[in-house]
Amino acid sequence: MTEVKHSGSQRSWEYYLGRITVIIVLVLLALITLFPFIWMFVTALKSSSEVFKWPIVLFPANPQWGNFVEAWNRQPFTRFLQNTIFITIGTTLLTLFTSSTAGFAFAKYEFRGKRILFILILLLLMLPPQVTLVPTYLMVRSLGLVNSYFGLMIPGITSVFGVFLIRQYLQSIPNELIDAARIDGSNDWGIYLQIILPLLKPALAVLAIFTFTGSWNSFLWPLIIADSSTMYTLQVGIAFFSGQTGTEYQLMMAVAVVSMLPVILMYLMFQRYFVASVALSGMNY
């Protein structure tokens, strides 16, 4: 967009010099950005003596793939992984439900208090999590949900971004579809299930990816709600593992690689959805 058409095919040497400088800057920064990921992987394959060799070992002479197995068995990481998957899927499904129903109401109905309720959602969900942390913990505790899967999911089951996204998406869909279904005798719940949800597939995909990563990566809440190691998530397990393992950096990095892999793969597969989600939430606040 900043590009201006130059007359004919002639371009000055300054133009090419500028481009080359830009590319060099971008490549350097890209390498710096990627470096911690590369270093994590390389370190995960080092032997315990290579980790502390000086001058530093850039590539392990003999990649220790066994580090992954050893690290994984140091703690019940399989259990942590199961917990994480379960909580992530539960949180994502609940968020899809609460966001699609509320977004549907805001997009396709007129009702008293609509504006105020919408503003309230925005305000509430912008609260820093630490502000509600103590009381929410006390409430979850009094409900007997500490150390339970539902307790672990709770703060994540609504999403301001989700309500926003669904509302926005549905506003662009003509009402005729809904009216036609109503004439055919569908009730509102039927319209939601049979018309709205299928239409929402692309928006729900964005929201699912977004919620999945957020839930997979979350730390503070599982840290206080998971009382015993049987309920730890991967992130909590890794934080404690890194505290206890001391200097066995190769093992820490092996676990780090595994815990990161699912979100990274998901990101690389659905890259354009992530960018779309930021652009969209960015435009609207």
Partner: protein, 290 residues
């Protein structure tokens, strides 16, 4: 008649799941938090109203004063850096370049990675004796820096790591902002004889004001809550040098079990976020039309 009443309730029924969760787990806890801040509330006992005593105690608590100062330093430095770096890179990526999608994908990668996990990775990178960062500095003839073990360097280390983690988000937001500005405006400025820099400074930048506001506000809100990287990389130390308000809410509430005192800290955290947001809206918030 029954049909009409029924129709009126329907939207509220659709709002119910979302609002029940919000009221139970956001709205009520928020009000409770404001009240608990005025109480003495050891876990396992009931809250006892003590007025503003918690806040008086905060003004005398060296841990709190350090946390407050560190949080402000962290917020101002990280937000400035991530917004400026994000803006510059977005402008560069907005040029039609081969591979710009690849660059964008790479710059956004840290944003998506789990914060705790990358904090563990950076802990190793920052290691004084075996860390790769000091190995690199050694090549340049710079003596090893005690990144995470000295009071002077621990906060800069956390800032560096956090900027790395978040600048990609700003790039994507600024790119979206840049692409929403009609290209014809810049072209007009260039045709009128403005240099590229002048066109950017006087045409693009003013139009980008709402995006800058968004980036600054969202970055500030997220920076005010800094927790994971502090917890993993330094635990608030050495001394109190990287203790932040977010970290203090955690230690006061879930290690010392002083729920009232922890709530008071969280109220201060909320106030800081509000004050910053209000200043930013005043500073950037004029309407822009084009």
């Amino acid at each position: 008649m029954s049909y009409r009443i029924n129709r009126r309730i329907i939207p509220y029924l659709f709002l119910l799941p979302c609002f029940v969760a919000l009221i139970l787990f956001s709205f009520i806890p928020f009000l409770q938090g404001l009240y608990f801040a005025l109480t003495s509330y050891p876990l396992l006992k009931s809250p006892e109203f003590i007025g503003f005593k918690n806040f008086e105690r905060l003004t005398r608590d060296p841990l709190f004063l350090a946390s407050l100062r560190n949080t402000l330093v962290y917020m101002i430095t990280t937000v400035t850096l991530r917004v400026i770096i994000g803006l510059i890179l977005a402008v560069l990526l907005n040029i039609r370049l081969r591979g710009r999608i690849l660059f964008r994908t790479i710059f956004y990668l840290p944003v998506i990675a789990p914060l705790v996990t990358v904090s563990v990775v950076w802990r190793i990178i920052f290691d004084t004796y075996s860390g790769v960062l000091n190995a690199g500095l050694d090549l340049l003839g710079i003596a090893p820096v005690p990144w995470l073990t000295s009071t002077a360097w621990a906060m800069p280390a956390i800032v560096i790591m956090s900027v790395w983690k978040t600048f990609g988000w700003n790039i994507v937001v600024f790119l979206a902002g840049l692409q929403s500005i009609p290209g014809s405006l810049q072209e007009a400025a260039l045709i009128d004889g403005a240099s590229r820099w002048q066109a950017f400074r006087h045409v693009t930048l003013p139009l980008l004001r709402p995006t800058v506001l968004l980036a600054v506000v969202m970055s500030t809100i997220s920076a005010s809550q800094v927790f994971d990287q502090v917890y993993v990389m330094t635990g608030g130390g050495p001394g109190y040098s990287t203790m932040t308000l977010g970290q203090m809410v955690y230690t006061a509430g879930f290690q010392d079990y002083e729920m009232g005192y922890a709530s008071a800290v969280s109220v201060v955290l909320l106030l800081i976020t509000l004050i910053f947001t209000m200043i930013q809206f005043k500073g950037f918030g004029q309407e822009v039309e084009y």
